[in-house]
């Protein structure tokens, strides 16, 4: 029973997206279909892509996507088709434009800020370290020499 359950779970994994079966002329078209169905967002449902959603509109858009692919449309043409009808909303990966520049640039920007802060911390720690190392009192220096001598004798 348990084995059967495990088997079912293992088999069930890759089946989630297979709602309809479409015929494609080439394997490359099938791959592009799967990619688009993953990357395009269902306009009716907030957090599902076309592949995962069973909303009627998602079903229609999968059909439309299939038709566009068979018509030999390029990736840009397909994205344009969706965006002119449903807006930027349908793209899970927004295009690089003036209004999305911050979105795309923010990670780099934040990495830069992080590096600056890190550099500041390192520089300060190093300066403090140097200051501490040079600031040995006479008593400390004598103690240090004793320890080193002791070490040398034992070694």
């Amino acid at each position: 029973m348990r084995r059967l359950l495990i088997l079912l779970v293992l088999l069930g994994g890759p089946l989630h997206a297979a709602v309809e079966t479409f015929d494609f002329a080439t394997e490359e078209q099938r791959q592009r279909y799967l990619e688009f169905a993953q990357e395009l967002r269902c306009p009716k449902c907030q957090n599902q892509n076309l592949a995962d959603s069973n909303a009627p509109i998602a079903e229609d858009l999968r059909l439309e996507l299939h038709r566009l692919l068979l018509d030999g449309k390029s990736d840009e043409e397909i994205v344009d088709f969706m965006v002119t009808r449903y807006g930027e909303y349908v793209l899970y990966e927004p295009r690089l434009e003036a209004k999305t520049a911050l979105l795309w640039g923010a990670p780099v920007l934040m990495l830069g800020v992080g590096l600056l802060v890190l550099a500041g911390i390192v520089r300060r720690a190093r300066r403090a370290g140097v200051a501490r190392a040079t600031a040995l009192s006479d008593a400390e220096r004598r103690r240090l020499e004793e320890l080193l001598d002791e070490d040398a004798r034992q070694g």
Binding site: P43, K44, Q46, I57, D60, G87
Partner: protein, 177 residues
Amino acid sequence: MQRLRLFLPLIAFAVLALLLWRGLSLDPNHMPSALEDRPFPQFTARSLTGDPVSREDLLGGVALVNVWATWCPSCAAEHAYLNELARTGVTIFGLNYKDDSAAARRWIETRGDPYRLNIVDDSGRLGIDLGVTGAPETYLIDAAGIVRLRYQGPLDARVWREQFEPVIARLGADGTP
């Protein structure tokens, strides 16, 4: 400089609070139509009465294009208000979306007919060109067939007053801006 640093957490908090406050007033379900201020798409179809219809049949004045279907409960809810609007002289075109035409004709017979004509879109293909995501949806087009407003959900007096009337007022008497 040192004093400024003391205020850094406060500044960071203020910026974050402002962003989150703004986020509170955003409606995550609101989707601006990609079609607003763009022409209503070209199409050729049949009407519910069997006549050919195309985009040209919708032009000539300010009009509503109401996307509806008999399988849609909210469409039943808004139908009485559509009848009322039609009585006050608003031109309403219907787009019978992914529906059974016979059932649609029965629906109009029993509930009253607010529509100047009904476009049959049984495949939902015209719906895709319009960016329809479900029913009901209502588009306001001007005399030249430019989409001026898209509303998702059932129409009622409040929606009409708050969303549609201001846009219609801007359009002026001849239906052009």
